[in-house]
């Protein structure tokens, strides 16, 4: 299928240093993170992208440009301490409402989380606009449906979210370990109420159907 001239080395993968160069070239060329599979697909047969990646990441440690991991993907990014040099390139981040920021944080820390759970935590209804905005920014997406009555949809954060905030994974969210240890990421129902009191009415609520029909 692949018509690379390098294909001649079918039985002889290039030396690891050469593989490193190749990954360097590929990752330098793109703005978006690439998964190991996407990188491997561009390398000649027999390459060990994972191994070469280890060397490459090490090579860029402490440099002006870093090789960062974003979820399952990799990308070159300028070192955060040098951001001030790129003032002209800076894009003023979109001003997010308090509701949007809190909703985003709740989704990131509690994911997968249903709309009812977000509302339970914030003590206020989540407006459709808030969810739409976060979806539009590609910072959240729909996760798997919760296997509770009504099978409500859940929200999770995306790779673009991780990329934007320079996170390797959602596990690296600031303070997430402490919050979990303190039990603050638990879903604790109101005493005297069934385990999942919200999921049921969630589907019934107009906001939900409005948002997720079609």
């Amino acid at each position: 299928m692949s018509q690379d001239p390098i294909e001649k080395s079918l039985f002889e993968a290039p030396p690891i240093a050469e593989q490193e160069r190749m990954i360097e070239a590929i990752l330098f060329a793109v703005a978006e993170p690439l998964t190991m599979a996407e990188i491997s697909a561009r390398l000649p047969e027999g390459c060990d992208a994972a191994e070469a990646m280890v060397y490459l990441r090490k090579r860029y440690e402490g440099r002006g440009v870093h090789l960062v991991r974003v979820g399952d993907a990799y990308a070159f990014r300028t070192a955060p301490d040098l951001g001030h040099l790129m003032r002209k390139e800076t894009v003023e981040p979109r001003k997010l409402s308090r509701a949007a920021i809190e909703t985003l944080a709740i989704i990131a820390y509690h994911q997968p989380v249903t709309r009812a759970e977000i509302e339970e935590i914030r003590g206020v209804a989540v407006s459709r606009g808030t969810v739409d905005l976060l979806l539009e920014l590609d910072w959240i997406r729909l996760g798997r449906r919760r296997m509770t009555p009504g099978r409500p949809v859940t929200f999770v954060v995306t790779e673009a979210f991780l990329d934007h905030f320079g996170l390797e994974s959602a596990r690296d969210l600031p303070g997430i370990k402490e919050l979990r240890a303190a039990g603050l990421l638990d879903s604790r129902p109101l005493p005297g109420q069934p385990e999942t009191p919200d999921d049921e009415d969630e589907v019934e609520s107009p906001g939900q159907t409005e948002l997720f029909e079609d």
């Binding site: 809190e102 985003l104 003590g123 969210l173």
Partner: protein, 252 residues
Amino acid sequence: MAPTDDFEPEDALIVDVEGFEGPLDLLLTLSRSQKVDLRRVSVLGLAEQYLRFVEKARALRIELAADYLVMAAWLAYLKSRLLLPPDPTEEGPSAEDLALHLAFQLERLQAMREAAARLMARDQKMRDFFPRGAPEALAHLRTVQWEASLLDLMRAYARIRTRDEFRPYAFDRHNVYTMEQALDRMRGLIGYMGAWADLTSFLPEGWGEEPSRRRSAMAAHFAAILEMAKRGQVDLRQGETFAPIYLKRKGE
């Protein structure tokens, strides 16, 4: 319960009610005046502060959203239960459990607020760190190779021809005159009928020349007049086999 100096900020809060993101947010703000760890917040004190807030809002004729009033009702209930000695006959969670849960909710909301702030304080793309400014296109040239063999071609043609030969038999309506048509026609004509008349003179125009059409029309009309004779509408007469058939309206 609450220190007296709390009244000042509460008044300020009332003016600013629009700024709250729901009753929990308001409770969280009120709890700050207690200046204690949220785990040790006095829920009773908080409930009283909240109820006072709602009363003041009412006094100032400030419209409060329904969820603020629902919370007020719930806090009033909680307050009464916290103040009264526990009723052993009452079912469900204890007032302390409910108070603890409210404290948990407030602590959790506060924690998420702080987490949100820490998240937003992180280095952000296009502000603190940057992707490649001049990305090169990673081209993915996908060429579709359409596959078709001679066998496919022949099969396709055979399929079309087979379909032709097995075309369902379509009744040739153009050259067929039905008995129903003939009956309708004869019923209309019978009123004008005088003396004995040859059946062939009743054949419709265009059906007397071409043999197959003539045969079909004749058969249909013959069947029709047999039917009419059976019903007693016409009399039929034929001199001998294959001789012309004559008909006449009954009773003439």
